[in-house]
């Protein structure tokens, strides 16, 4: 049976999270010549419906990108014991579900480290999408990294909103960026889906640096995006599709160690990141992998040593 993928509300071309998932799926399709079914959600109510439709049509495995599927999948998984599901960013406890979560705090730590090293004002910004523990996890890792690079760094963190609309409000993203710039920030990290596009745009317009998220967003404003915190959703999707109906289920953590997260380097930001900085960051990365540095995960206890929300 063909695999299927369901994208979350932002749509598969959001240049960020969903696009990463899409890239993973197309990579699989190109490599194997297979085809996959796909759907972009347009409303919350469709989650369960889409899952059921794909399950009934025999798709296997069914991959879904986004924590918001958690509840729906919890409902549906039991009804289709012969279908395998893979969910990204959420843990669903069912025998036929693979739950893929990422150590975003680790990746964020790295880009936070780079931000603080690059900042001339010792002030770096973070703009999150919807204010949920997952995004706080990004922010917390980022702040830890920044403080580790330079203890005097001020981290300004803002969330765009408390609803799903916060993922898709570039205008507000832009305004928040301006506010952070006026508070002295000269590097801003956006973990905000579509909202982040507004952040990156405004940062580029106003002549400061930004950091992208999920996909490699360096190309969006060449020379203006310091780096992107890669969350290899594409790898997770690719892997799930490649594993096919025999996919191993269970809990699947993707971190620095297994290339689940990282930071992006390409020709667009080559000028911005000195070899020296790159070397330091790689060293830090190694230390995290080796356990020498532990990055606190906000979601483990809903608290953050480096940042208050």
């Amino acid at each position: 049976a063909d695999p299927a993928i369901i994208f979350d509300l932002g749509g598969k071309f959001d240049k960020s999270f969903n696009e990463a998932a899409y890239n993973g799926a197309t990579r699989w399709a190109e490599e194997t010549g297979g085809t996959f079914a796909e759907v972009e959600l347009q409303s919350d109510a469709q989650r369960e419906q889409a899952l059921r439709r794909f399950a009934e049509s025999g798709a296997n495995p069914i991959v879904m990108a986004g924590f918001a599927f958690g509840n729906a999948l919890g409902e549906v998984a039991g009804d289709y014991p012969d279908t395998k599901f893979a969910i990204i960013d959420m843990v669903v406890d069912a025998p036929n579900v693979r739950s893929v979560v990422f150590n975003e705090h680790e990746g964020s730590y790295l880009v936070g480290y780079m931000a603080a090293q690059t900042s001339k004002t010792n002030t770096v910004g973070f703009i999150g999408g919807m204010d949920i523990p997952l995004i706080r996890k990004f922010a917390c890792g980022y702040a830890q990294g920044a403080k580790a690079a330079n203890p005097d760094t001020t981290v300004i963190a803002n969330m765009t909103g408390t609803t799903g609309a916060a993922w898709n409000d570039p205008v507000k993203g832009g305004e928040l960026t301006r506010a952070q710039i006026s508070q002295g920030a000269d590097v801003v990290y956006a973990a905000a889906g579509g909202t982040g596009l507004g952040v990156l745009q405004t940062a580029a317009d106003e002549g400061i640096l930004s950091i992208g998220v999920d996909s490699n967003q360096n190309y969006l404003h060449p020379g203006k995006v310091l780096t992107s915190m890669l969350k290899r959703v594409d790898n997770a999707v690719y892997q799930a599709m490649k594993d096919g109906p025999d996919m191993e289920t269970g809990f699947n953590v993707m971190g620095l160690a297994n290339d689940g997260v990282g930071y992006a380097m390409d020709e667009n930001n080559a000028e911005l990141v000195s070899d020296e900085l790159k070397a330091t960051v790689d060293a830090v990365s190694e230390k995290i992998v080796s356990g020498e540095i532990t990055v606190h995960d906000y979601m483990s206890d809903e608290s953050c040593p480096a940042l208050t929300f």
Binding site: R53, D131, I132
Partner: protein
């Protein structure tokens, strides 16, 4: 120009409006490079071609019956309640509080309590605009629009800061406990031996909605209160002459309307999601306007209009799943239906009248 006979006004005019709305929408489908016939047939089979489709169609229809009745009851008093969205959202809060914080032995009792609470919360959310309209002449359309936004913010606050379980991501309450889960239509029909898809969200609230239709029929057309509501809606000076208190009627009528909108929560919150999610109303409050307009504010008409829109929603969802035609097509169709059966009603009527009388003249 002569007047149309009543049946033509009641059926033909909305039907022509509907056909025009569909025709225009299908042109749009064509313009976006898709095959309208294929789209249409996919929508129809998706919505009505299987018990699975029916399950969703009926689920959506249940929502729209409630909000359609809500708009209609207010229409009868010449009040335009555009606040169904907010009232249904608050109804959801009423349901959530009932389901989360009381130990219910059985779903039947929980449903009764939830109905009461949902209606109460919806009614209270309509109370302030009603009061302001009745006592201070504040235009109810504007206040109810404002109250939709205020409701969204309020619910946002309550869900995010109060009811969201620790560590959860989406702004939603915890899952309601098992005893409050309503039997689905599949369960009910299965119990009497009729095979029906089990995975669909249609549930016992459909019966609540049907009961609401009957009650609203009796309310509007058979009771003194309904008589007074209709009289007030036709002429306010006459109502004062008859001793019908405008303040009282406005408030009571809007509270009934808000209560009906609130009742919708038994379907989407208690019956489907089994938890309260932010934004769970999903525009049903506004669709109620289209449903009431199409159904000519009569419960029977509303029932059919709600079914139609339910099928439209389910059919549209299928389109979104299986073709590159986005589900937003449904919103366009819905917009055109409201436009043609509501705002451009007179245009359709004159077209129909022209056709009608030219036919008659030809026959004679």
């Amino acid at each position: 120009m002569n007047e149309l006979p009543k049946w033509a006004d009641l059926f033909l005019v909305p039907l022509v409006g509907l056909v025009m709305a569909f025709a225009l929408s299908m042109l749009m489908v064509l313009a976006t490079g898709n095959d309208p016939m294929e789209a249409l047939s996919l929508m129809i089979t998706g919505a009505l071609g299987s018990t699975y489709g029916w399950g969703y169609t009926l689920y959506y229809a249940t929502n729209f019956i409630f909000t359609g009745l809500a708009v209609a009851v207010a229409f009868h008093a010449s009040l335009f309640n555009i606040g169904g969205e907010g009232q249904a959202a608050l109804g959801g809060l009423g349901v959530a509080l009932i389901c989360l914080f009381f130990p219910w032995p059985h779903w039947t009792i929980a449903l009764v309590a939830a109905c009461g609470s949902a209606a109460l919360f919806g009614a209270l959310w309509a109370l302030i605009p009603a009061y302001l309209q009745a006592k201070r002449g504040s235009h109810i359309v504007i206040t109810t629009i404002m109250f939709n936004f205020i409701a969204a913010s309020l619910l946002n606050y309550i869900l995010v800061n109060q009811l969201r379980p620790k560590g959860a991501m989406d702004p939603a309450t915890a899952k309601f406990p098992e005893p409050t889960h309503l039997p689905s239509l599949g369960d009910i029909l299965g119990a009497v031996g009729i095979p029906f898809s089990k995975g669909t969200p249609a549930n016992v609230s459909l019966i609540v909605a049907l009961i609401a239709c009957v009650l609203v029929y009796y309310l509007i057309w058979r009771t003194r209160l309904g008589y007074q509501i209709r009289a007030f809606g036709k002429s306010q000076p006459a109502a004062v002459y008859a001793g019908i208190n405008p303040v009282r009627i406005t408030i009571i009528c809007m509270m009934i309307s808000g209560g009906l909108a609130g009742l919708m929560a038994t379907n989407n919150v208690m019956g489907e999601a089994e938890r309260l999610i932010l934004g769970s109303v999903e525009g049903a409050g506004f669709i109620g306007i289209a449903v009431a307009l199409m159904g000519r504010s009569h419960p029977v008409g509303i029932l059919f209009a709600a079914l139609l829109f339910g099928a439209l929603y389910q059919g549209g969802a299928e389109l979104g799943l299986w073709t590159s035609i986005p589900r937003e097509l449904v919103i366009v169709i819905q917009a055109l239906v409201i436009l043609f059966t509501g705002a451009l009603d007179n245009m359709i009527r004159s077209i129909v009248a022209r056709l009608f009388f030219s036919r008659k003249a030809a026959e004679a």
